[in-house]
C-alpha cells in the first residue's frame, strides 16, 4: 500500500516553471530520494507543509490531504528541515520528554538516545552540542513523533561521518519498521548513499535515475548478455585503429577536448550521459559508460558503481558506512566521494591485493 501519493503536482513561480506536473508514489518500507535544486526543494517542502497553497495536483499521505485537514495530515508526516532547531536552553532529555508528551509517543527516550547515539549527552543543553550532534538530536525528535512518512531535507549536509553513519542506520531501521522515507537533496552522492531509488526533479520533470541494486543488474546482464556480445563485436569492428589512440575526447561547446586518461578523476553517468570529472570540472563525454570502461580499464580505471567509473590512482580512502555500503574518497582538491557497490567491493579488494 502506498503511503505517499503525489498526483500531478506542479509549481509555477510567476512565469518560470519551478517544476512541471509530476506524480510519485512511495509505499511502506520504501526509501526514495529526490535529487533537485534548492529552489524546487523549498517549494516542494512548502507545498508539503501547506505553507503555500497547492494550485495544481494533490499530495496525499495515507489518503489524507493537506488541503482538507492539516492536523490529520501532519499526524502522518514528520519533517526534518535544514533550518529546524530545538529548544537551546533545555537538555536533550528535556527536549525529548517535551516532544514525547506533545506527540503522545510511546517510544522511550532511552531508546531514541541510543539510536541517535547521544546517550552521553542526555543532560547537556542543546546550545552546547556541536552542529552534527544537534542534527542527530533533531533526527531523534522525528523518531519520537513516529509518523508514517518521514521527509528529510538535506539530511547529511554539513555533518560529520559519525552522524552520517547514524543517519544511514536510522533510515535502514525505519525501512524495516515499514515506514516510508522521502529524502530531498541536491547532492547526488548523498542520495545514492541513502537509497537505490533516486529521482531527479528539475524544470523538465521527474525522472527515475538508472540505479539498480547489483542483484537486479546481474540478472539483467545474463538475459541481455547476447545483445551485449553483439554490441561488443560491433564496437571492436569500429575501434580498429592503426595507431593506438590513448586520449579520451570530450565535448565542450562544440569543440572536442582530448584528455590523457591519468588526468581523469572519475566518470559519472547521469540520464544516459557520461560526464568526465577532471580537477572538479565536468566534461560531457561522447562515449557510453561501457565503452569508457573498456577503453579505460588498462589505465587502472574501475567501474565501482553502475553510474560511476573511478581512476583508482586517485582514490585516497575507502570508507565503510555499513556492511553493505561503501564510499570511495578521492585525493583531489574537493575530496570528491563516490559510491561503491557492495558486489564491486570484493572485486576492488582483489585488485588492491587485499583479502
Amino acid at each position: 500500500m502506498s503511503i505517499l501519493e503525489i498526483k500531478d503536482l506542479e509549481k509555477h513561480d510567476e512565469h518560470t516553471i519551478v517544476f512541471p506536473s509530476f506524480s510519485l508514489e512511495v509505499s511502506e518500507s520504501e526509501v526514495v530520494a529526490i535529487h533537485t535544486s534548492t529552489n524546487a526543494r523549498t517549494s516542494l517542502l512548502k507545498l508539503f507543509m501547506g505553507e503555500i497553497p497547492i494550485s495544481n495536483g494533490e499530495i496525499l499521505v495515507n489518503k489524507k490531504n493537506v488541503k482538507l485537514s492539516k492536523r490529520d495530515f501532519f499526524f502522518e508526516v514528520g519533517f526534518f528541515c535544514l533550518d529546524d532547531e530545538l529548544y537551546e536552553r533545555l537538555s536533550v532529555k528535556d527536549n525529548y520528554s517535551f516532544f514525547q508528551k506533545l506527540y503522545g509517543s510511546e517510544l522511550s527516550i532511552d531508546e531514541v538516545l541510543r539510536i541517535v547515539q547521544l546517550e552521553t549527552k542526555r543532560n547537556v543543553r542543546i546550545s552546547k552540542l556541536s552542529n552534527s550532534e544537534k542534527r542527530r538530536a533533531l533526527f531523534g525528535r522525528l523518531l519520537i513523533q513516529n509518523p508514517a512518512l518521514f521527509v528529510f531535507e538535506e539530511p547529511d549536509q554539513n555533518i560529520d561521518l559519525e552522524t552520517k553513519r547514524v543517519f544511514l542506520k536510522m533510515v535502514r531501521e525505519l525501512k524495516q519498521k515499514g515506514k516510508a522515507v522521502l529524502v530531498l537533496t541536491s547532492n547526488m552522492e548523498s542520495a545514492l548513499s541513502i537509497t537505490d531509488q533516486v529521482y531527479r526533479l528539475d524544470d523538465i520533470g521527474l525522472h527515475a535515475l538508472d540505479v539498480r541494486s547489483e542483484d537486479e543488474t546481474s540478472n539483467e546482464e545474463t538475459t541481455g548478455s547476447q545483445e551485449e556480445v553483439l554490441a561488443q563485436e560491433n564496437e571492436e569492428e569500429i575501434i580498429i585503429q592503426p595507431v593506438r589512440f590513448e586520449k579520451i575526447p570530450t565535448k565542450v561547446n562544440d569543440k572536442i577536448v582530448l584528455f590523457d586518461p591519468p588526468e581523469i578523476d572519475y566518470i559519472e553517468s547521469s540520464e544516459g550521459q557520461s560526464n568526465i570529472y577532471i580537477k572538479g570540472e565536468m566534461y560531457p563525454s561522447v562515449f557510453t559508460m561501457t565503452e569508457l570502461e573498456n577503453r579505460l580499464h588498462p589505465y587502472g580505471f574501475f567501474r565501482c558503481h553502475r553510474s560511476y567509473i573511478v581512476n583508482l590512482q586517485k582514490v585516497r580512502e575507502v570508507v565503510t558506512w555499513t556492511r553493505n555500503s561503501f564510499t570511495l574518497v578521492l585525493g583531489d582538491a574537493k575530496k570528491s566521494s563516490i559510491p561503491l557497490s557492495k558486489t564491486k567491493m570484493a572485486e576492488l579488494k582483489t585488485m588492491l591485493g587485499l583479502k
Partner: protein, 235 residues
C-alpha cells in the same frame, strides 16, 4: 479545534524550564519587585503610585514574557515544529499564556506585599487584576506575533511599558485635549479607577462597568491577535 490539557501542560512545563534558564527574561521579570521594594521602604500610600507599579508589572511580566516566548519560538523556527505537531493553536497559546499568567500572579502578589498595599475589597481587586492580566497577555501575543526575534520584542515592548505604566498622566493631558477623553477607557486607567473606587468603599456592583470595559478590551486584543495570527500563517 480540539483542546488538549495534556499538550498545553507539556508546553507550559517546557516553557517554564526554558524561561527559568533565560536570564534575559528573568531579570526583567524581577525588576518590578526591586522597584516595589524600593517604594515600599519609603512607605508610599498613594493608590496612583501603587497602580503605576502594578500596571508596569502587568506590562513587563504578562505582556513581555508572553511576547518573548512567542518571538523566541519564531526566531528559532521551533514554532513551525509546534504548528506541524498534533498541538492545536489553542493548545499552544493556552500553554504559553498559562506560564505568563502564573508568573504575573506571583509577581503581583509579591509587589503588593512589598509595597504594603492591602485592598479593601480583595475579591474585586483580584478579579480586576486577573482580567487585566488576560488583556496584557493578549497584548504580548500580538506583539510576539509581529516581531521576529527576542531582541525586537524587547524593544517593541518599551513604548507599551511607558504608555501603560504612566497612563495616569494621560488624564491630565485629557483636560486640555478633549479628544484624549477616549483614553479613559484604556484598561490600565480602568484598573486605577476600580482601585480608587474600592479604596473609597465600593463593592462589586459599583465597578461592574469598569470590569466590562476591561473585558471589552480583552475581546478586542484577542480579535487582533487572531487576525494577526491568521495573516502570519499565510506568509
Amino acid at each position: 479545534m480540539i483542546f488538549s490539557i495534556k499538550r498545553s501542560f507539556a508546553i507550559f512545563q517546557k516553557d517554564y524550564k526554558d524561561v527559568s534558564k533565560n536570564l534575559y527574561v528573568t531579570v526583567s521579570v524581577l525588576m518590578p519587585l526591586a522597584l516595589a521594594a524600593l517604594w515600599g521602604m519609603d512607605g508610599i500610600d498613594n493608590i496612583n503610585i501603587h497602580y503605576m507599579l502594578f500596571n508596569m508589572t502587568l506590562c513587563m511580566v504578562a505582556a513581555y514574557v508572553q511576547c518573548c516566548l512567542i518571538a523566541e519560538e519564531k526566531e528559532k523556527n521551533t514554532l513551525r515544529g509546534l504548528m506541524l505537531s498534533p498541538a492545536s493553536t489553542m493548545d499552544i497559546l493556552v500553554g504559553k499564556s498559562l506560564l505568563s499568567f502564573i508568573a504575573t500572579f506571583i509577581i503581583l502578589v509579591a509587589c503588593a506585599f512589598l509595597q504594603d498595599y492591602k485592598p479593601e475589597n480583595l475579591l474585586v481587586i483580584s478579579l480586576a487584576m486577573a482580567l487585566s492580566t488576560i488583556f496584557y497577555i493578549g497584548l504580548g501575543t500580538v506583539l510576539g506575533l509581529v516581531t521576529k526575534s527576542v531582541m525586537e520584542a524587547s524593544v517593541i515592548i518599551l513604548p507599551f511599558i511607558g504608555f501603560f505604566s504612566f497612563g495616569s498622566f494621560l488624564t491630565v493631558l485629557a483636560e486640555s485635549f478633549p479628544i484624549l477623553k477616549v483614553t479613559e477607557y484604556l484598561p490600565n486607567l480602568q484598573l486605577i479607577e476600580i482601585a480608587n473606587k474600592v479604596h473609597s468603599g465600593a463593592s462589586l456592583s459599583d465597578v461592574w462597568f469598569n470590569l466590562a470595559v476591561i473585558f471589552a478590551s480583552i475581546v478586542v486584543i484577542f480579535a487582533i491577535a487572531i487576525v494577526v495570527f491568521r495573516k502570519r500563517m499565510m506568509d
